[in-house]
């Protein structure tokens, strides 16, 4: 092929601005194009014929189409961090400085050493990989593993970058009454009609310029050139207050509930996005109804060498001539089985393209079409077919044979027709990809979604709608401008009815131009002994399809999976129907009985970053406590605890985390420490039935909890396993403040709400999450009371006024502070809650008051150390597989009342004493017990099986050794036993002694003091 820019005049190059020249590069060579060009049109204009190599055989490939259906012309666009592999040259708009490279070749697209893949030829057919590389018996997978390295490197298309994407992405939620997909004749008609009835309309088109086929149409609408008409109408629509027009915006997926995902390419037509401009925007469009007017995709014909650069779809060739003023070759032949090929030839000729021959499989062609043919001055070969494309690398001639329409075979007459481009038309396939994504059946329609074969059009049409969508134009089999306008309006009326709106006004323009018959002859393949391709990108040949048939892979899904037909980046847009037709012929079945595969979203490939949208790099919200800044300023390492960030430890200069937490924990035991507990879940429980409700959801009793007291409570799941724990404070008769674990807050809230609403709706209980209302600070250590006395005076804090588990409200600095005497560490301790916005103030006051006692802020690690020493369970022990009995909490399980989980806790296996039970272990020789150890009887070399595992591990300053809580088989009766904590992945094997988990102050004298 050697494309060439035509002499530009009115009607030729309607989409480009020849006054504006752009410089771009391909494979390092610099070229010029115009504003309005695509990369493909600019390459064609510059005579670049080989732009890519195919996936499997690395055969040279050129430009095959003019749109998103392109299977061949894939290039790598941009470089560095913005490098994008597999971009279709037919879609990318030319911009100044555009940089593109061919891919999947070495050293160049023209000369690719990997083309050696063609040599084994027929050996490399469908199913090749399944039949070899098994290696020899006993070798296991090694041989394949070895070969696979090379195969992987040879496969793949373009190269990805390893640099992070420098651009950002955005999302948009949009609502409308009628979404119109596609802004061709049918889409514009639908949008106008819907807007005229007052509907909110969104009109999307994947191209930069709206108009679809109108952009290259030769017809006049209301006496105006189609191109001018489109521009005017679209401008009017865009001005309409109810209409939003989105160009460069591909509707990719149809989801449930009339939800559509569309991707707008905001800045892909620029060298880089403007500052603050997203590269792409993902539109989530929720509509009441939709008009799908996505047009149709031209099909090629299958014949020998049909993949050669120079073979191009006829309508694409016509568009290059009309819109971009480019001829695909110096002499162009046309091969068709339908009238549209002839009209494409005529339109090209009118633009100045030299048409040398028109070859039609049909012998009987209408007079109007013959006239159009005559206008091109080409030699006419009816009842003929192209048997083979000839030429080294690129097309130089075609071999034409006479064609028998009844047997679909060629005769013996052969002629060589010289040409460097061949425009082919094998009929049209409606683009109902979006509606096919829905698949499945519908309540009211058993046929819904399933495509229907139209033997007149030789095409599948979308099946009955499964939801509120209405097909229009070529997508629905309504070909030609007149039908497109009419069906667009009809679809809009149906969509308006879905919205409960009136019918609006009709405004179909008067159309001057051809009346075209789109129905092709049922010819899909011209059989010859030459390699003929069905799927151009994946190199699936017609023989591969027949081989699949021979080997029994005859169902359409098997065909696809066995040959990879239709699985390339174009998802078979130009090859699926042809593949089916060849399989149908092999099976001697009508095409529809072979079936179709369901199209899957997205319609065209979508940047992963665009779907991530504004979440790219901002994966999840962080939850911060009111004292967050103080922690950071005071050298706290922050630890992600679910969405929360919590201080891990406050690391003094040169101090390790371990040194820091040991210091902090020691300070608590010896004097006083302060810790931020704002992250605990807090639920306000109120109402006349609040106490009854708590009594049902906790395994221990709450009926008799006095006002002004807190109680530790256990919650079980319905299946009897531990769910969560925490304290609940009775603030007055009908008002409680429940606390939960940090991680469990959300699920506890949902659990409670579910039971209140669904199970016991008659209980008068109000549940409100107040986790964000309260800042929480815990003071712990023998000096904690002294600190509080500094702030509140001695009396309110005395043991009488605030006994263990007591709760009261006091004033401090003009605000209310709730104080509860609770201990997680086993020391004398308090929790103080105040309004979150005042949290820092409370913290500062406590720090100030604690200064005489060298108050020490402590983090999660020390908090954990203190509770491990005390044998208090937390998240790692509440792992969803433990029961109260396992953790030594049987006393918390009421026998006097029912509660959630009680019944299934009685199941036989949960009552067994063979289960893993909570113990502590102590390192006996000073070695460090590391997290994740298992308890075994044997030495390092022969550890034996696991009898249990550690759950929470620390260095205990109190015991001066490494300790851990652990779950051990029958652990309760094994205190004193010597074992090993083995940790092979961390290369540790530590001798340990099993002890009671209550390692510090087992009688609880300190916290009660």
């Amino acid at each position: 092929m050697s494309g060439v820019r035509l002499t530009l005049r009115p009607g030729v190059g309607t989409s480009i601005d020849t006054d504006k020249t752009l410089t771009f590069s391909f494979d390092g060579k610099s070229y010029e194009g115009h504003v309005g060009d695509t990369l493909a049109s600019a390459l064609l204009a510059n005579g670049v014929d080989i732009v890519a190599r195919s996936f499997k055989y690395h055969r040279p490939r050129g430009i095959f189409s003019a749109g998103s259906e392109e299977p061949s012309a894939l290039v790598t666009l941009r470089s560095g961090a913005r490098q994008e592999p597999n971009i279709r040259a037919t879609e990318i708009e030319l911009y100044e400085g555009l940089e593109a490279r061919s891919q999947n070749r070495w050293p160049s697209a023209k000369f690719d050493l990997m083309a050696i893949n063609q040599l084994p030829g027929k050996a490399f057919a469908a199913g090749f990989y399944y039949k070899t590389f098994m290696g020899t018996p006993g070798m296991g997978t090694k041989f394949w593993w070895f070969c696979e390295q090379f195969i992987r490197r040879a496969a793949g298309l373009g190269k990805p970058t390893v640099d992070p994407d420098p651009d950002h992405y955005a999302r948009m939620n949009a609502y409308c009454d009628v979404l119109v997909v596609g802004s061709g004749a049918a889409g514009i008609a639908a949008a106008k009609r819907a807007a005229s009835a007052g509907a909110r309309v969104i009109l999307c088109d994947e191209s930069a310029e709206a108009g679809g086929s109108l952009r290259s149409a030769c017809e006049y609408l209301d006496g105006e050139a189609a191109q001018d008409w489109v521009k005017r109408e679209l401008a009017a629509l865009a001005e309409h207050e109810n209409v939003r027009v989105l160009s460069r915006c591909t509707v990719q997926s149809m989801f449930d509930g009339e939800t559509y995902l569309a991707i707008e390419r905001v800045a892909d037509h620029k060298l880089r996005p403007a500052p603050h401009e997203p590269r792409q925007r993902a539109w989530t469009i929720r509509t009441t109804s939709a008009v799908i007017a996505t047009g149709a995709i031209e099909r090629p014909m299958v014949f020998g060498g049909n993949d050669k650069p120079g073979v191009i779809l006829a309508d694409a060739a016509r568009r290059y001539a009309r819109e971009f003023g480019v001829s695909p070759g110096r002499s162009v032949a046309v091969f068709t089985n339908n009238d549209t090929g002839w009209l494409a030839a005529r339109d090209m000729a009118r633009c100045g393209v030299i048409i040398t021959a028109i070859i039609d499989t049909r012998s009987d062609v209408g007079d109007a079409i013959r006239e159009a043919g005559a206008e091109t001055r080409a030699t006419i070969h009816t009842g003929s077919a192209v048997l083979r494309a000839k030429g080294f690398q690129t097309l130089s001639a075609v071999e034409v044979a006479d064609f028998n329409e009844t047997t679909n075979t060629v005769g013996s007459n052969r002629q060589i027709v010289a040409c460097d481009a061949l425009a082919v038309s094998g009929g049209w396939s409606p683009a109902f990809h979006l509606t096919s994504q829905q698949g499945g059946k519908h309540l009211t329609s058993q046929q819904g979604g399933k495509p229907v074969w139209d033997s007149e059009l030789q095409a599948f049409l979308p099946g009955e709608a499964t939801s509120n969508w209405h097909g229009a134009g070529a997508m629905a089999g309504k070909f030609g401008l007149r039908q497109a306008f009419r069906s667009g309006e009809e679809a809009a009326v149906l969509a308006l009815a879905d919205c409960g709106l009136g019918e609006g006004e009709s405004s179909v323009p008067e159309i001057e131009g051809d009346s075209i018959d789109y129905a092709p002859a049922p010819v899909f393949e011209v059989r010859s002994k030459h390699k003929a391709f069905v799927d151009l990108q994946h190199d699936v040949t017609a023989d591969d399809v027949r081989l699949a048939h021979r080997e029994g892979f005859v169902s359409v899904e098997h065909l696809k999976r066995y040959t990879t037909l239709g699985m390339a980046t174009d998802q078979g847009k130009t090859s699926n129907v042809t593949g089916l037709a060849i399989m149908a012929e092999a099976r001697d079945l009508p095409i529809p009985e072979v079936g179709t595969t369901r199209f899957r979203p997205p319609y065209t490939p979508v940047a992963l970053g665009a779907v991530a949208g504004e979440k790219f790099g901002h994966l999840a919200a962080e939850r911060l406590t009111p004292m967050h800044d103080w922690h950071v300023a005071n050298r706290a390492g922050m630890y992600a605890n679910g969405p929360w960030l919590r201080p891990e430890s406050y690391n003094g200069p040169g101090e390790t985390v371990e040194q820091a937490y040991i210091r902090e924990a020691r300070a608590v035991r010896e004097s006083v420490g302060i810790v931020d507990v704002s992250t605990l879940g807090k639920i306000d429980v109120q109402g006349p039935d609040a106490v009854e409700f708590l009594n049902r959801v906790y395994s221990n009793g709450f009926a008799k909890l006095p006002v002004g007291k807190a109680r530790y409570g256990l919650m079980l799941r319905e299946d009897g396993f531990l769910f969560d724990d925490g304290t609940t404070w009775r603030l007055d008769e009908h008002r409680f403040l429940m606390t939960t674990t940090t991680a469990g807050a959300g699920r506890v809230m949902e659990h409670l709400e579910y039971h209140r609403d669904v199970v016991w709706p008659d209980l008068k209980v109000a549940l409100t999450s107040v986790s964000d209302e309260w800042a929480g600070v815990a003071l712990a250590g023998p000096k904690s009371r002294a600190v509080l006395e500094n702030l509140f005076g001695a009396k309110p804090i005395s043991n009488d006024q605030l006994p263990f588990m007591g709760v009261r409200e006091l004033k401090l600095g003009g605000i209310d502070v709730l104080i509860a005497r609770l201990s997680f560490s086993g020391e004398l301790a308090y929790e103080l809650y105040c309004g979150a916005h005042c949290g820092q103030g409370l913290w500062d006051a406590l720090m100030e008051a604690g200064r005489p006692h060298r108050i020490t802020p402590y983090g999660l690690e020390a908090l954990s150390t203190l509770r491990i020493e005390k044998g208090h369970v937390a998240g790692p022990e509440l792992n969803g597989r433990t029961t109260p009995h396992d953790l030594g909490l049987s006393g918390m399980v009421s026998t006097k009342k029912n509660f959630i989980g009680k019944a299934l806790l009685q199941r036989e296996a949960l009552q067994s004493e063979d289960r893993l039970q909570l113990v502590a272990i102590k390192s006996v020789d000073g070695q460090r017990i590391r997290g994740g150890s298992h308890l075994v009887a044997g030495n390092r070399d022969e550890p034996g099986i696991s009898q249990g595992h550690t759950t929470s591990t620390c260095f205990s300053p109190e015991l001066n050794c490494y300790v851990s809580l652990a779950l051990l088989e029958r652990g309760k009766i094994r205190h004193g036993e010597k074992m090993f904590a083995t940790n092979p992945v961390r290369s540790a094997h530590v001798a340990v002694e099993v002890v009671s988990p209550h390692m510090v102050d087992p009688k609880g004298e300190r916290m009660h003091g």
């Binding site: 509930g257 059946k441 049902r696 319905e718 949902e750 609403d757 669904v758 199970v759 709706p761 029912n898």
Partner: protein, 95 residues
């Protein structure tokens, strides 16, 4: 997919949390039998076609709704309020 919250109106599914089969009915509170609870907790009819299920409008009013949905087509057939205010909401009185 969109669901109609009887209080907030038609909303995107991302605002809701799925809470399972609406026909899994907890035994009466007095019942402590393993059989009855095991059937409630573990056994599901899991039909294709119409399915009655509970959703919570977690990112909205936090009310629960009983949704009848065709699980073969994802078509939402109805959304009914459940919970203390179900009657008021059914009568069309938001509050």
């Amino acid at each position: 997919m969109l669901l109609t919250c009887p209080y907030c109106g038609l909303r995107d599914q991302s605002e809701f949390t799925y809470r399972g089969d609406a026909n899994a009915r907890r035994p009466s509170f007095a019942d402590e039998s393993i059989e009855a609870h095991a059937a409630y907790v573990f056994d599901r009819e899991n039909p294709s076609g119409l399915h009655e299920e509970i959703w919570n409008h977690t990112s909205g009013c936090r009310n629960h709704i009983k949704v009848v949905r065709n699980v073969t087509t994802h078509e939402v057939v109805s959304c009914e309020p459940v919970g203390p205010f179900a009657k008021a909401l059914k009568r069309g009185r938001a509050t």
